[in-house]
């Protein structure tokens, strides 16, 4: 599963410290292009829930959402 990690504190976060915490729970950084404020991470659901408890209050974790290409086609309901 992929999650978005957000830094909500003031100033710049301690990236070395957060990288160490992530590796402790076997969480990979998938996309670091919006660091230091945001990062896309991937990990096992159980590990991510453990990470949530271990993170300082200035870090927030939310699930990555996906958006479909919009259309207006009618579809048969699957039973």
């Amino acid at each position: 599963m992929k999650f978005i990690l957000k830094y909500t504190g003031t100033g710049n976060p301690d990236l070395k410290k957060i990288t160490e915490v992530l590796s402790l729970y076997d969480i990979q950084i998938v996309d670091d292009s919006l660091l230091p404020k945001w990062a896309l991470i991937r990990g096992d659901e159980l590990q991510v829930s453990k990470l949530k408890k271990a993170l300082d209050s200035e870090w927030l974790l939310t699930p990555e959402m996906t958006f479909k290409v919009p259309d207006t086609k009618k579809r048969i309901r699957k039973s």
Partner: protein, 500 residues
């Protein structure tokens, strides 16, 4: 003048960036919130000036200030829902959030969502779909409903001979829909007797046809924009198409080539871009505007919220003036909202499609208060009688009874504008043309027209890139909005036109 009353709703007003307005950052917003603070709790409503329609003097709307946190902080107000869009366009630079009430988190009982029914085949029907010369068309999606309300029936794609065989449980179809990806209009018919073969001829698309977009906007006669204005398209990618020039862009899909920002093959982004800036056989509403393509949809898969955040970040860095986001979903996403706010703070307006969930509440991020949320309208006689578009006609009708809000369009008080979104002809990859329906099409019609209008005011575009620039752009656009008579819940303030 409408007073807050039965149709009034409570909303929370917040400055764009913080919980309290900054005098230095935005003195106008700070002054306005302080003014509201002075009348907090008073029984007589505050009268605020708004301009409801162009060439008319300012009118007043009533706002009751119920509560306040600090002089220049958040305000709880009551306002007539019909006036919300007017308020938003007259007093930009504020987040307007509906007041919510929370309940204890008690687990709800599980309910059966759908009764499972077995379909027993009663008839086998062969559908033959051809062009006007009788040549079979491959790849047409045929959807046959025997019970439309229950969503019961069968569907599939035609083969190379234009044929699809379907097993159905009744010998009458309540509704038949046929969808072509490009080149042809779709087909719609009610109450069809299902014999062993049903033949359907599809109408080819004529780029000179007066669709809803060209009915309201005579784009072939409009001159190309000469002032520099940049529109970012966050979508499936754009082009290639002979009618489109893509200035630049980036593929933000994780793991894909960042320089490949052409369409991923779906065609949605190319259609959206054509509505804005096509120039060739077809003309968009803002031909001459610079198009930046930010690809966030991988081929055949959903776009990641993180990639959309990256696209917004890139559009800000590339100094876009307007961003088009023809995408959305039911749940809010804090990350995307944050970047729309970043864009607003950089003097950029984000136009976002309301969503196509059959009159459901406005999707996110359109419902986010700093987005310009766009619903879809249509007009009778701007599409062939037996086309799919005929099935989208539904009330409310406008001041002109031929105009209607599309049955699929999401609606609600967050709606800011409406735009033509039924039976829109635009560009499709590899020099083809396609007809598409959706708030996805209404959104670039509004965004493109905004680009055309703003290009006529270089002084405004030359303002420093900050929140005040976005505020002033919104106020300037408000002069060009006309009500179509659908009501604020369906059209917000109304539709943009190129003359005040």
């Amino acid at each position: 003048m409408k007073k807050p009353g039965k149709s009034s709703q409570n909303f929370i007003l917040l400055p764009v960036n913080h919980a309290k307005a900054d005098q230095k950052e935005n003195p106008k917003v700070a002054k306005f919130l302080a003014r509201l603070d002075e009348v907090t709790g008073k029984s007589a409503p505050l009268k605020l000036n708004v301009r409801k329609s162009p060439r008319e003097p300012e009118e007043t709307i009533s706002v009751k200030v119920i509560d306040s946190i600090d002089s220049e902080g958040a305000k709880l107000i009551s306002i007539n829902k019909e006036e919300l869009a007017n308020f938003r366009f007259s007093y930009p630079g504020l987040r307007i959030v509906p007041e919510k009430f929370y309940r204890p988190a008690i687990l709800a009982q599980e309910r059966i969502q759908l009764q499972i029914r077995q379909i027993r085949a009663k008839v086998v029907t062969s559908f033959l779909v051809t062009d006007p010369q009788g040549i079979g068309i491959e790849g047409i999606t045929v959807v046959v409903f025997t019970d439309f309300t229950a969503g019961k029936g069968a569907s599939g794609l035609t083969n190379s001979a234009g044929v699809l065989k379907l097993k159905l449980d009744k010998n009458t179809a309540e509704r038949i829909y046929m969808y072509a990806d490009d080149t042809y209009w779709g087909y719609f018919k009610k109450s069809v007797k299902l014999t062993s073969q049903v033949k359907v001829k599809l109408n080819p698309i004529d780029p000179d046809y007066t669709d809803a977009l060209r009915y309201f906007y005579d784009t072939p006669k409009w001159p190309a924009i000469t002032e520099k204005i940049r529109v970012g398209i966050i979508d499936t990618g754009v082009g290639p198409h002979a009618d489109l020039i893509v200035t630049g862009g980036k593929n933000l899909v994780n793991g894909e080539d960042e320089n490949d920002f052409a369409d991923n093959g779906d065609g949605h982004g190319t259609h959206v871009a054509g509505i804005v800036a096509a120039s060739g056989k077809l003309h968009g509403v803002a031909a001459g505007a610079e198009i930046m393509s930010y690809r966030v949809f991988p081929k055949g898969a959903g776009a990641s919220s993180f990639d959309i955040m990256k696209a917004l970040d890139q559009a800000i860095a590339d100094k876009c003036d307007v961003i088009n986001m023809s995408l959305g979903q039911a749940e809010d996403d804090e990350g995307i909202d944050s970047y729309i706010k970043e864009a607003y703070n950089a003097g950029i307006i984000c136009f976002v499609a309301n969503g196509n969930d059959d009159r459901s509440p406005v999707s996110f991020p359109a419902a986010y208060s700093l987005s310009v949320a766009v619903s879809a309208m249509g007009r009778k006689s701007t599409f062939p009688a037996n086309s799919v578009e005929a099935s989208t006609v539904q009330s409310p009708y406008g001041t002109d009874k031929k105009d209607f809000i599309a049955d699929f369009s999401n609606i609600g008080p967050e709606t800011d504008l409406t735009g033509p979104g039924v039976g829109i002809i635009s560009t499709f990859p590899n020099d083809r043309y396609a007809v598409m329906n959706g708030t996805s099409m209404a959104c670039p019609a509004a965004a493109g027209l905004a680009a055309r209008i703003l290009s006529g005011n270089p002084e405004l575009l030359n303002l420093p890139r900050n929140q005040e620039r976005a505020d002033e752009m919104i106020k300037y656009l408000a002069i060009y909005v006309k009500s179509m008579g659908f009501g604020a819940n369906f059209e917000g303030k109304g539709m943009l036109f190129n003359e005040p």
